[in-house]
């Protein structure tokens, strides 16, 4: 394994994975390996995983105060590494390790004389009880800055700890709007567009794409997963679509873990809207596609908002031909910069997992952290925090403008661009500045 194990752990039971992000680690495959790996699996990415009766944590409440002689910068990664959210959680945590690895390859943190970036991982199992606990563990292990957690309730608990202890927390993914909004947080940041932003981007962008291509989109039918994430997008779409003169004529929900979407498609079919908007995890979208084909139905425009399915290469190839032409808006990798392809191939080499949009977003969060440390030239939490406040980070691989945070910690330029499945691969098609292909309407 990589060379670094934090020295401060020596007198304690080792309970967190410390992963050396050195070049040597490049040759090693990640722990989770499977060809079916993908982002936003059919697990409840945003739901509080109701995993069984376990809980608790390990360490004291003391904040790991960084030593003065800085030879490493420690990022604490707080993600679900086991349990029903782990399929994506493991990939996200790996992406963070990759970001550290790449930085170290470049010679580490310049402003800290080449200090290495180390990632330590904690497994929150997708359980709300463990969110704060794992944050504390990571901090007591010496983490200088935190990231996580995929599930919103877990993130809520995790960020609370960071805020109280005055340590910056850059959210990798957590869609719920209220994690930041109105919370008065001073140490928490989110590069990713939250649910409401994604829905408003859908309303702004997708109808434009369709109408620019000469199509008509006056009516829409929603197909959403009936959990917080699905309902949040639904509620926001209800708000924003009418502003773009799209009327929602049908709404139909699918239960988490449902075995098919037959009924829902029957309902959409009898409403026959101009577009179906899917908001689901991977499994839900696959069921939708399956049921649509089984009932030989496809609306003029099959679209998705913040759906994991149509940005997931494996899911798209599982669905096959039928997926072609689907328009989806979601946070995405920026195909117009070379770095994206480079990072993707490195990730595939190292972890044998798909570099999905979710995983890419976690990668970006890690880069934001690294960049902030670089600018701070310090591992003092408050220094990093100041750097984050003033950060303007352009050299990232997500399809959005420079990452800058507002007072609440939201990324001002967060964006969910429009992707389209073309020839069974996912391409960004709009806005033009990030587009790798023309939308086909």
């Amino acid at each position: 394994m990589g060379k670094t194990l934090k020295s401060s752990t020596s007198n304690r039971r080792r309970f967190l994975k410390a992963t050396g992000a050195s070049v040597a680690a490049l040759t090693l495959a990640g722990c989770a390996s499977d060809d079916a790996g993908n982002g936003g699996s059919d697990s409840g990415g945003d739901s509080g995983g109701d995993s069984g009766g376990d809980s608790g944590g390990d360490t004291g409440t003391t904040t790991g105060t960084p030593e003065q002689s800085v030879d490493e910068v420690i990022i604490g990664s707080n993600h679900p590494l086991s349990g029903s959210l782990a399929a994506t959680g493991v990939g996200m945590s790996n992406a963070i390790k990759l970001a550290a690895m790449r930085k170290n390859e470049e010679g580490g943190i310049e402003s800290l004389d080449g200090a290495e970036v180390t990632v330590i991982e904690g497994d929150n199992q997708g359980a709300q009880e463990l969110g704060g606990q794992v944050s504390e563990e990571l901090l007591s292990e010496g983490a200088h800055v935190l990231t996580g957690c995929y599930s919103s309730p877990v993130t809520t608990a995790a960020t609370q700890v960071a805020e109280r202890q005055g340590v910056p927390f850059v959210i990798s993914i957590a869609a719920a709007d209220n994690i930041l909004q109105g919370r008065d947080f001073n140490y928490v940041y989110r590069p990713q567009p939250p649910a409401r932003r994604l829905a408003s981007d859908y309303a702004d962008l997708v109808p434009t794409v369709i109408r620019d291509g000469g199509g008509t989109i006056d009516t829409a039918g929603l197909f959403y997963i009936n959990n917080s994430y699905g309902q949040a997008i639904r509620d926001s779409l209800r708000e924003f679509l009418p502003e773009q003169n799209v009327e929602i004529v049908e709404e139909t929900a699918i239960e988490f873990g449902a075995s098919n979407a037959n009924t829902q498609v029957s309902r959409l079919r009898s409403a026959d809207p101009d577009t179906i908007i899917a908001t689901t995890y991977v499994a839900g979208g696959v069921l939708l596609a399956q049921a649509l084909q089984d009932q030989d139905y496809r609306p003029p425009y099959l679209t998705a908002s913040a759906s994991a399915t149509f940005t997931d290469d494996d899911a798209v190839s599982d669905i096959g031909e039928f997926a072609n032409g689907v328009l989806d808006n979601n946070y995405a990798l920026n195909p117009t910069v070379d770095k994206t392809a480079e990072v993707r191939s490195q990730f595939l080499d190292n972890y044998d997992q798909e570099f999905s949009a979710s995983v890419g977003m976690a990668y970006t969060a890690a880069e934001v952290i690294i960049q902030a440390v670089e600018e701070a030239g310090s591992v003092e939490p408050d220094d990093i925090n100041e750097a984050l406040k003033g950060l303007r980070y352009e050299d990232h691989i997500s399809a959005m403008g420079a990452i800058e945070f507002d007072d609440q910690g939201e990324n001002i330029n967060a964006l969910g661009p429009v992707n389209q499945v073309q020839d069974l691969s996912v391409r960004v098609v709009y806005p033009e500045e990030y587009a790798e292909a023309e939308p086909q309407v």
Partner: protein
Amino acid sequence: MGHLVTSVAPLPLQGGGLGRFIDPFVQFLTDITNLEPVLLQLLAFGLLLGGVYALTALGLTMIFGVMDVINFAHGVFLVVGMYSVWLVSEMAGISPFLGIPIAAAVLFVLGVVVHVLTVEPIIEAPQQNQLIATLGVLFIIQSAIEIVFTPDPQQVELSLGSIQVGGVFIPLGQFYALVIALGTMLAVRAFLNRTDLGRKIRGTADNRDGARYVGINVRRINYLTFGIGAALAGVAGGSIALFQRFDPFTGETYLINAFVIVILGGLGSFPGAFVGGLIVGMIQVFGGYYLPGTTAQVLIFLLFIGTLLVKPEGLFGGAEA
């Protein structure tokens, strides 16, 4: 959160107030009077879904009925069945259909092992202890699968598509599952009614002391029953794998509905499980079509509670299996 329901143009089936409870029924009645073709389609979907549900309940009803044990590990048994079929077809390249009997065999062995190690020692203990023991088994098997096969979802490579009969679409994957469910039910019924072993199982379920008096080895019947119940879960899981992606946690959603079906149909009753499955399937399909969100599941639980209260022996309770 001010942008909730109010700002949305009223949908036929949405909105607050009492309307959301009444409108769906009005709509339903209107559709019936108009003989909407969609009703036939929904009926078909309900039948298909019901078949799948019935299949998931067969093993549970057997174990519950014969041994009076609530097996919380049943859901994860389904998952083992799914992975078995997947492994067989991915690794050995055998048709997933042939994987189903293999899944049954694997589960039979697993069932016997689980029974001998965890259930048998406490078969006479308070019922909640068995419940907690099988819950422990659930955690163990689920996490073992997660460790071995990763939490990533898997899929059996099989595109079955659908056929159309008189304007009604029949997705083939689910159709096969329905056929397997019917076939399994008939086979198990024949096994229980026609064979000596089956008769012994029924006898033991009926009167454990009586079984002892006539010289049935009740201990053996117990682990065979648990094994067969698990094997049925294997068949069910294997059939579901034909048309659904799955991960180590897929079983949980089926588990609760399987309990509902077992109670609806009556403990140990196979026709009961089938009818119970159909009822739950129909409610989910028609409820899913007419009611907002996933309100249909509320109806299912109300029906479940009602059955428990008024007719705890179930629709087919007391009748022969």
